[in-house]
């Protein structure tokens, strides 16, 4: 059994644009050959983290190891192996061909090899080299710009491919091609992929690890549910009123603001019949809206709409089978009051 190596290891890493830290990550490892998903609300620091990993932004403190060695002083070498597809892609004012060839020329690759890599990369994002290679940058749709930008990175055959919301602003076809291309890069070359996205269905399908960011902090497991709203204090509990029901949580110590609580999908039990009420448990009713298989665990993730709050619950395939769960079904969720942790 071979040991899993980490391409990136972060320890007590911080970054800030101004006074407030945009990133404050105690510990995070990106395993080699993994597909790591970054999720979190807008402004939580996903793009910043990807830029720090790509050695495009300097961290303020802490350690950033690439292949077990600090990146300090070898940022240029790291940038040759790690590439980032920006959240808002940019193409140089040149032809599609010249855009893709740019990074290859930089690496001293022969022009015959460049030509074949350009066609290969375009094919990987579902674009025919015949009709696209010679196009100027301004004769492309938004989705095509995004796909060409990905092709530009794929041509480099990167060790690590960082993708910042690659499917956020594109049409369905482009999104599908982009997802396929990322998957093939992983499959064909063993490229490690770190992807920030709001497309959780896709992530659960492909990710080997999911990291949640909230206000710059990484919450490795179980923060896929962020319950935000007007939490109010009531005795030793915090209470969030939904339309017809409430969620209760144990009050955190200190004067921590009650804004957002993380809820681990694994601690939520799903049932068809309403379970007996218990003082230390929340029981909610809702509608199962989605089910997907989670690649990292092999379990099923169900999304349940509870009066407009969407909660994810993780359960084994066997219970999905035993309970005969399917989207559209009315279900009940139950989870301990103490499992909600305020962030």
């Amino acid at each position: 059994m071979t040991e899993v190596r980490n391409v990136f290891s972060l320890r007590n890493l911080t970054h800030s644009y101004g006074r407030h830290p945009t990133l404050d990550i105690a510990s995070l490892d990106i395993p080699e050959g993994g597909v790591v998903g970054l999720i979190g609300p807008n402004g939580s620091g996903k793009s910043t983290l990807l830029k720090v990993l790509g050695c495009l932004l300097a961290r303020r403190s802490g350690e950033l190891l690439y292949g077990g060695v600090s990146v300090d002083g070898r940022e240029r070498a790291v940038r040759r192996e790690v590439t980032l597809l920006l959240q808002e892609p940019y193409l140089m004012r040149r032809s599609v061909y010249a855009n893709i060839a740019y990074g290859l020329k930089l690496r001293g690759i022969a022009s015959s090899e460049i030509a074949s890599r350009v066609s290969d990369s375009l094919a990987r994002v579902g674009m025919a080299a015949d009709s696209f290679a010679r196009r100027p940058w301004f004769r492309l749709s938004g989705g095509e710009v995004q796909r060409v930008s990905l092709a530009v990175r794929l041509a480099l055959r990167p060790k690590v491919l960082l993708l910042d919301e690659p499917t956020a602003n594109v049409d369905e076809t482009s999104a599908a091609r982009i997802k396929e291309a990322a998957w093939h890069a992983w499959n064909d070359w063993g490229t490690t992929i770190v992807v920030a996205t709001h497309d959780l269905v896709w992530l659960y399908e492909v990710a080997t690890k999911i990291v949640s960011l909230y206000r710059g902090r990484a919450i490795s497991d179980g923060a896929e549910n962020l319950v935000q709203g007007d939490w109010v204090r009531a005795g030793d509990r915090a209470i969030l009123a939904l339309r017809g029901q409430t969620i209760e949580a144990t009050l955190p110590g200190g004067d921590q603001p009650l804004v957002c609580a993380a809820l681990n999908p694994s601690s939520i039990a799903v049932s068809r019949e309403r379970p007996a009420s218990r003082a230390d448990h929340n029981v909610l009713s809702g509608t199962l809206t989605q089910m997907s298989i989670e690649r990292a665990t092999g379990d099923i993730l169900g999304v349940v709409d509870c009066d407009g709050v969407f909660l994810r619950a993780r359960f084994p395939l066997s219970s999905a089978h035993d309970l005969n769960l399917y989207p559209g079904l009315a279900v009940h969720l139950s989870f301990p009051v103490s499992t909600l942790t305020f962030l």
């Binding site: 040759r80 740019y102 480099l156």
Partner: protein
Amino acid sequence: MNYISDGFVQAIGLILSMDEETWSAVVVTVKLTMLSMSVTLALGLPLGFLLGYLDFPGKPVVRTVVDTLLALPTVVVGLLVYAFISNRGPLGGYGLLFSIRGMAIGQTILALPIVVALTASAIEGLDNRLKTTLATLGANGWRMAASCLMESRFALLVAAMTAYGRIVAEVGVSMMLGGNIKWHTRTITTAITLETGKGDFALGMALGILLLAMSFALNAALSFIRRRADA
């Protein structure tokens, strides 16, 4: 009004049967413009690039000075350079006064701020995603700088054309530093001034048409190159 249309008809005739004297003014103008433009671009593009690309203390002050120099009156430049290159000036020994090289010094001073200011603005105006994108592809240092310059090429072309317009159209510097000497330093613009002063309206107009034709040919060539580059 008749003398204008008569002048125009005569002017066309003069152009078609161009005499050697007129031809010499055209040749001097082309030589002078080429020299001035070469020096202006050779100095102005790097300086403007540095001004736009680098961040250094005092940069806003430099920008303000350059912007002020944009409005330099030609006669002031003529006067200043004259003081330096006339016999009694510090550069008097080089025989620059009343020579094409002397005129080129004045024209360069006139056009340099234009190229510097417009180049700096072009570089500053580049999308800030460009540098990040180039970095993600592995570019840095010289490569990054060269690619930024390449990205702003259309704006740089505009800078060069604006400088060209200023150089080819000015009279003051050419008159004061060149002296409007027939066969030597008489340019199209100084010739127009002279002929109009003498009342030879048709010849002045002929020269004006030639000047416009030269600019038109250059612009047409550039737009052809640009269209080729885009495709």
